[in-house]
Amino acid sequence: MESVKSSYTEEQRHHIFESEFLPHIDAMYNFAYRITYDEASAKDLLQETYYKAFRFIESFHEGTNAKAWLFRILKNSFINEFRKKNKEPSMVDYQDVETYYNSDDVNEVITSDLRVEVLQDMIGDEISNALNALAVDFRIVIILCDLEGFTYEEMSKILDIPIGTVRSRLHRARNLLRERLKTYAKSMGFK
C-alpha cells in the first residue's frame, strides 16, 4: 500500500515470501475460487498473484499487513487480466449503488422478514449458490468482510475505494444476498 520502497537482500526476499506471504495462501486460494467460481482459474490467479507479490516485494514493508497487500494484488489481477480475458463485464453500476444508499428507499431495508430458524436449516450449497449469484463486486465485499474479517479501512485499501463506498456496497450486497436466500426459502416452502 505504501509507495516508499524498501530494499531487501535476496535472502530477505525469500524469508518474507515464506514467512509473511505463504501463510495466507489458503485464504487467497479461497478468495480466488469464490470470485472466479472456477478451480483452474483460481489456481492461475493464485499463481499470478504470488509471482507478482515476489516481483514487487520491494513495495512491501516487512511487518505490515501482508494479507491485505496480497488480497489487493489478487483483486487487481482479477480485474485487470482475468476479467478482461474472460470478457466478464462488471455487473455493478456503482452510481446506482450510491444513489440507492443515499435515497430514502434505503430505510426500507431494515426488515426482518426471513426467520433465523429458516436460515439455520439451509445447507452449504444453498448458501454458496446464493453468494455466487451475486455480481462479483458485491461478492467480493461480503467475502472480505464476513469470511476474511477485514476492517473497513483494510477493505478500502484493497478495493481502492473510500470507506463510505465500502459500507454502502456491503449494505447493498447484504440486501441482495438476503433476497436470494429469501427466494430460496420460499421455493422450499418455508414461510
Binding site: H14, I25, D26, M28, Y29, I110, S112, V116, R167
Partner: protein, 100 residues
C-alpha cells in the same frame, strides 16, 4: 412521506422509548447496526446496542440485526474452506526461484 414499513420501524423505538442515545435517531441506529453486522463496532458501540435492544422486547432493529448476523454465521460455518493443492505451492516456488 415514509412508506408504512419504514414508519413501522421508526415507530418501533418511539413506542418503546428506551431513551438510550441513538435509539430514536434512525440514522444513528442504522449506522450502529451496520457496524455490528460488519463486525466493526467498538466496545462502546456494542454496549450501546445491547442497552437499546435489551429494553425493547419487540425491537425490529434487533430482529433485523439478528437476522443479518445469522446469515453471516451461515457464511462462516457452512461454506467449504478449500486447502490449496500442494502442487500449486511447488509451482509458485519453482517459478520464483527461476527469477532469482
Amino acid at each position: 412521506m415514509k412508506d408504512k414499513k419504514v414508519q413501522d420501524y421508526l415507530d418501533c423505538c418511539i413506542i418503546n422509548k428506551c431513551g438510550e442515545p441513538g435509539c430514536d435517531d434512525y440514522a444513528v441506529r442504522k449506522d450502529l447496526i451496520q457496524k455490528i453486522i460488519d463486525g466493526q463496532a467498538s466496545e462502546d458501540e456494542l454496549s450501546l446496542y445491547n442497552a437499546i435492544s435489551s429494553k425493547c422486547s419487540d425491537c425490529k432493529c434487533r430482529q433485523y440485526c439478528e437476522q443479518e448476523l445469522a446469515i453471516k454465521n451461515l457464511l462462516q460455518t457452512k461454506l467449504d474452506r478449500k486447502r490449496v493443492p500442494l502442487d500449486i505451492i511447488e509451482k509458485i516456488k519453482t517459478r520464483i526461484n527461476k527469477t532469482t
